[in-house]
């Protein structure tokens, strides 16, 4: 019993110490664990040096938990977070709900016009910016120059899916550990569906017509799904339904893929000889398309926003300005190196000589990001914005379910027809319940 008292006493004392240290303003930043965010945490000293009265606490969570916690907090007016990490998927939705503080009073030296236009557009609602981009990506094609040379083929600047099929066939050599093409197969709206949506778009497909009627059994969807399945079953690595971004990246870096279509963010990793066995033979091209270039490459960004419920919104705003500024990028380049700067946000990054030298793929990435237009994601008109997602709250559920169905199609559990029918029915039912489809 006496021990218990001692322990409680020690605990209370510890708690007292922990709370009394926070006399200055303490802001809580909710974020995800990715390499760029880790760099940001390490750079925080620079911010606190300029703002000695502000202390920064980070809450790092897996993506889905983060989204769920922030939603609970904002919807109940909890005020737990001063700065939140949001993507271009939820920013317009949450801005519409009135949850985010508009970013309209930015200081002049922030140079808001320096932000890449498509990225800025993706984080705006009704013409107002609601989150500042920390990092952005599109998708592109990676390929092995040495294998292409050996096979006597050449990668165009922007291949079509028909060309990709022919290349995959020539490169496929599983007995030597090389698969023709690697693509994401792991189910999830941000995993296989991010990729597959761009493929559907480029085949001329769309999720909904202008009356919000699902179009998942259309010929374009059918063709895209059949080609996706054929590519993965014939020329893909085994167990493709467990391959997400990281798994595919590792396969490519290990020299096991002839081609790979995925996020532009991997370019630095696969060109770095410390991580990649194919660093000196990797080639880059734009993402493949089929009948249209609209929506053939995605646009994703992680951005920082200040919720309206933030208890310390001034300090929070100062932090967001700092972390997404030109100066921040400059100091990461100085302290670490140019390859460590968060890519995809500012034109000045791509104009800088240092970055162009360190990242020979930079102009390709810039083209990819600038050509990804979430306002015109498909060949036919659609009532929604977003390329590899649709900016409506229901899309998370739809994307998750259709992602599972597509994984079933790849694994051969269901046929393309059956799968697309199921996806169509699920989507139609959910949209009806949500009151879209009258």
């Amino acid at each position: 019993m006496r021990w218990g008292a001692v322990i409680i006493g020690a605990g209370v004392a510890g708690l007292g110490l922990a709370t009394s240290a926070g006399a200055a303003t303490t802001i809580t930043v909710a974020t995800v664990n990715n390499p760029d965010m880790v760099t940001m945490q390490k750079m925080t000293d620079e911010f606190t040096k300029a703002h000695p009265d502000v202390k920064v606490n980070y809450v790092t969570l897996p993506e889905n938990e983060l989204r769920q916690k922030i939603t609970t907090d904002i919807a109940s007016g909890g005020g737990q977070y001063d700065v939140i990490t949001v993507s271009n998927y939820e920013t317009p939705i949450w801005a519409k709900n009135g949850w985010l503080k508009p970013m309209d009073n930015l200081p002049d030296d922030y140079q808001v016009d320096d932000l890449l236009p498509t990225v800025r557009q993706g984080l705006s609602y009704d013409g107002t910016l609601y989150a500042l981009p920390f990092y952005a990506e599109s998708s592109m094609t990676y390929y092995r120059k040495d294998l292409f040379k050996k096979a006597g083929i050449e990668m165009p600047d922007r291949p079509t899916w028909d060309q990709m099929k022919a290349f995959a066939q020539k490169l496929h050599d599983p007995s030597n550990g090389v698969y023709g093409i690697c693509l994401r197969g792991l189910p999830g709206w941000g995993q296989n569906m991010a990729f597959f949506d761009t493929m559907v778009n480029s085949y001329g497909g769309r999720w909904f017509d202008m009356e919000w009627k699902p179009q998942l059994t259309s010929e374009a969807w059918h063709k895209a799904a059949s080609d996706y399945k054929m590519l993965m079953n014939k020329y893909g690595p085994p167990g493709v339904t467990s391959n997400g971004f990281t798994e595919s990246e590792t396969l490519f870096a290990n020299g096991q893929c002839g081609m790979w279509v995925d996020s532009t963010v991997a370019a630095g990793y696969v060109s770095d000889p410390d991580n990649s066995k194919v660093a000196d033979s990797v080639g880059f091209a734009q993402a493949p398309y089929q009948t249209t270039k609209n929506g053939a490459n995605w646009l994703y960004s992680w951005a920082l926003a200040v919720p309206k419920s933030a208890p310390h919104s001034d300090a929070a705003q100062a932090f967001v300005d700092w972390a997404t500024s030109k100066q921040y990028i400059q100091s990461v380049a100085e302290k670490k190196d140019w390859l460590a700067v968060p890519p995809g946000t500012r034109q000045s990054t791509y104009d800088s000589e240092g970055y162009q030298q360190a990242a020979p793929f930079s102009s390709l990435v810039r083209t990819a990001i600038s050509s990804a237009d979430p306002e015109n994601p498909t060949a036919d008109p659609v009532p929604y914005t977003g390329i590899q997602f649709i900016s409506i709250p229901q899309f998370q559920a739809i994307g998750t379910r259709v992602g599972q169905i597509m994984a079933g199609v790849l694994a051969g559990q269901t046929s393309v027809d059956q799968g697309l029918n199921q996806a169509q029915q699920f989507t139609a039912r959910l949209m009806k319940q949500s009151g879209y489809d009258k």
């Binding site: 322990i7 809580t28 390499p35 809450v59 109940s76």
Partner: protein
Amino acid sequence: MNAQRSNIGLAVVGWLVALIMFFPILWMVLTAFKTEQTAFSTTPEFLFSPTLESFRTALAQGAGYWHYAFNSFFTAMVSTLLGLALAVPAAFAMAFYPSKRTDFTLVWMVSTKFIPAVGVLIPIFLIYKSLGLIDNDWGLIMLFTAMNLPIMVWMVYSYFRDVPKDIVEAADIDGASTMQTMFRVILPLALPGLASTGLLALILAWNESFWSLTMTDHNAATLAVFIASFKSAEGLFWAKMSAASVLTVTPIVVLGWFAQRQMVRGLTFGAVK
């Protein structure tokens, strides 16, 4: 001869099952000493040059390992002591002075464990928000205590039931008050049982992740939150996460080792009479 052979067979099966159950833990420990690249390698590697890099990164993650370890230790310890302080008198009353409703009360208490935690998340979140208990050690302690209390009462109750009633009667006749009977007579007899109850509650609170993840951010964040922060959709994190997991389970495993004898005695207490 036959009996001996089947004994050997049983031993082999026993070892196999133990190995299969232990393998994930062994793999986690091995992975913690690998580089991220070897950890992710498609051909599993058993022989590699170990590195402490992941531990170094893990110790510095977020607010640092010790911040989370302190919260885990503090909340688990205090909630266990609080739980025992409530469970012992309750179980004592039910075991030695049962009423018509005792059986029903016991079943009802355990039945509260049938509700999935997520089912009561929103009301509790809202109440905690108005009381300012979110991201607060004491808020977490209350949750852990309430979460473990039914099991603790039930366990202590069954240990008390194994104490012969005659002893209570004898104490009564000798003029001991109820308090004296409980503290002087019954508690020493049931001590191994109390120890294993406490240890179980401690482990459950230490391992709890649902409430820790939803109700805390920084100040009261426990090791469960610490581990969760390593998951990422981008980049490699297996080695770092393994290192974090090793750091998280080690204290409780060591504690379990020390308490093993007590625990086994407690679990079989009364069964061999």
